[in-house]
């Protein structure tokens, strides 16, 4: 039972580069989320999705894009990476009652 799988685990980007953080879940959950966690801070919601084809902005969506073409996958796209996007990114999916988190992607923009 894989749960929520994020790839890659670590990545270093140069300023202005782009990349996609992958998130996949095998629990058939409709709800999926992307959060970022800055050092010593809580989690801030970037984007979320309530089902395939439906996405919405969270607290800090600027500089990011998402898509949800299938129930399983919810990739997060960074365009024109900036140092302010250095963070740990967590993907989560949930049932009505419980949320499950991936292991995180540690991204550094230099």
């Amino acid at each position: 039972n894989a749960g929520v799988t994020q790839t890659p685990k670590f990545r270093i980007l140069k300023i202005g580069q782009s990349m996609t953080l992958q998130c996949a879940q095998d629990m058939n959950h409709n709800y999926m989320y992307w959060y970022r966690q800055d050092p010593g801070m809580g989690l801030k919601l970037i984007y979320y999705s309530v089902g395939a084809g439906i996405t919405d902005k969270g607290e800090v969506p600027n500089g990011y894009n998402v898509s949800r073409s299938t129930t399983e996958d919810f990739p997060l796209r960074l365009e024109l990476a900036a140092p302010s996007q250095t963070s740990v990114y967590f993907c989560a999916s949930r049932t009505v009652t419980e949320a499950f988190f991936g292991q995180g992607t540690r991204l550094t923009v230099v």
Partner: protein, 111 residues
């Protein structure tokens, strides 16, 4: 806008002592979660509280929810070193699918 406030943000306690972490939120919610995070790790689900007056216990941790006061507590009984971690509460915004986190409470239990 839903705001979630935890206090204290830092807590240093001795083994064997009791303490409570508080989570206040600003608007109507239909679910509240408590998570544990160890350094460099992901979040581990501890409790899900879905109704007013809900109380859940696991080992030395007990969580409760008062929806009228918009307050949840995480009570630690007879703390042990293994409980050292950062604890987050997260609140589901009523009528929405958003889940908003507090800033976390970094707990250190000293021998």
């Amino acid at each position: 806008e839903l705001k979630v406030e935890q206090n204290p943000l830092f807590l240093s306690m001795q083994e064997g002592k009791n303490y409570t972490i508080y989570c206040n939120y600003s608007t109507t919610s239909d679910r509240l979660y408590w998570y544990r995070q160890d350094p460099g790790k992901s979040l581990e689900s501890l409790f899900v509280l879905l109704s007013n007056g809900a109380v859940k216990q696991e080992g030395r941790l007990m969580a409760s929810l008062d929806t009228k006061a918009r307050l949840s507590t995480l009570h630690i009984t007879a703390a042990v070193h293994d409980l050292s971690a950062t604890y987050f509460c997260a609140v589901g915004l009523g009528g929405s699918e958003k889940l908003v986190f507090g800033k976390g409470t970094k707990l250190t239990v000293n021998p």
